[in-house]
Amino acid sequence: MDENSLIDLARKGELDAFNQLILMYQDLAFNVAYRIMNDDEAAADATQEAVISMYKRIDTYRGGSFKAWFMRIVTNACYDALRWQKRRPAVALEPETDDGERNESPAWLEDGALKPEETLEKSELEAAIQHCIDELPKNFKTVFLLVDVSGEDYESAAESIQRPVGTVKSRLSRARQKMQQCLQGFGELLPSIFRLNTEDDDG
């Protein structure tokens, strides 16, 4: 059954059709969520929230790219989750245990930087790229992920963020510029092409 037929059935309340659509896009959705959240568990939770939210609103889908629509819901769910995390930090801010003793665990001192074991899990280059993605402002990050990570075209990304194609073009350009600047800081990790200009300057 093709995507359009599944969408029609899903809009009529067919849960099986809806689930088939989810199976088609869940890897992509999770990947985008992971790049935003930079955490497997949080990305999975955000993806699940996005799926539930999409099921509630499936009858408001008015055509166009279903993938773009789904990605918009996923990115919104991720940013909602990030806002929620910001308001309610999971780690205690006070360096004391419940008994009033000094908290010896360094957990409360941790920042958002990569943990060593996480760094080992990823390739160093991927970790560097993920770090730079995390540094991007929200609007730039969304467009960058949609185009350069999910591989959407400008029109589809524009549909996802509900902005004109010109906005996508401009935000993507700014995001790429920032990514380049950020990646320059990782020097040796980068392919030689990244260092061409530096060498040129030095020479």
């Binding site: 989810i22 199976l23 959705a29 990947n31 509630k56 185009v147 075209d153 320059q184 092409i193």
Partner: protein, 373 residues
Amino acid sequence: MDKMQKLSPKVFESLSAYIDGQLSPEEAQAIEAKLAASIKFQQAHDQLKAMRATVRAMPQRKAPRNFILTRAEAAEAKRGRNWSRAFGLAFSLCAVLLVTLFSYDGMSNLLGANKSAFDSPSNIEMAAPMAASDSAEEMASEPRLMFDEVESEKPVLLNWVPTAGVGGGGGSGPREIWSSTPEDESPIEIQPQVASAQPEQDPIEEELIHVHIHPISGAVTICDPIDGCGYGSSSGAVSEKENEHWVNPDLIYLDPITGEHKLCEKPGACGESAGIFASGKGADESSDEITPYESAFPLILGLDHKNEGEVLSVSPSIEHEDLEAKLSEQAGDYAGDVDHQRYLQNQLKLWLKIGLASLAALFAVIWLIIRRR
């Protein structure tokens, strides 16, 4: 430092779009010409392309589990959506009712104003004699004519039409004043400011008194000689100066139905003159005794602005406890009282609007909360 930073944002944007194949043929040709002409531009292009390729080459994360919904999860999601819809609908309904109510109010005020302006004298809310005059300026220059030429065979009726009685008797709506002779029903508009302007001569010497006339009920209240009338409009839509007039005190009589003081066409023609207003000219010279004010309604002479708006003077012989008894005694009289009915209607509409607005806000908040969950 990176050469990319030396490209202007516009050029970088074009280069970025060129790499993605998003430029028009003409724009692409321009970029290709630059690439052929500049090695540094070529390097910038290669670097950007390499970065893009590196990012795209990152391994795609696989979903750690399936995110499909079970029947139970789907049913729960639908329930939440139904609540969201219900509250959204309730909010919309309240908003529509509110808009309808405001529109109806506005329309009825507009129609009421037109109707009253051309109505028969039976609908005249308040009548005060004044000289027939086609010119408002003439009336301003001779303000006493408005009230002193009581014996005039063709008195001019001062007729007002409240157009937006929002708030219980607050007189919040704009007001129009018309003057007309009984023979000529077509009203001639006069400027309220001019009609109520202070006389050029000293009003005390002229034996006029400064009063506030309620725009809806026509109730007359004496203004404080120092602090003025001390009335505030509930909505601020009407300048209270428009409701202030200099009148002959003999024209003020006590309305037995409403217990309010009002203006009469002729002295004594509408009932017992309110003795408390008597001054020199209108007072009974043979008697030094002043009839006490016996109305169930307190006669407010002014509000003390220096004392948090406390009422300066009330009916001297009425105890506060007696007011309710008097009011209940007179309750029957209100059945046919147009002013009172209008007051009640205005109150009802006001509270209806407040209630609907509160409900709409409540439903909107709940709706948004459910939607975000």
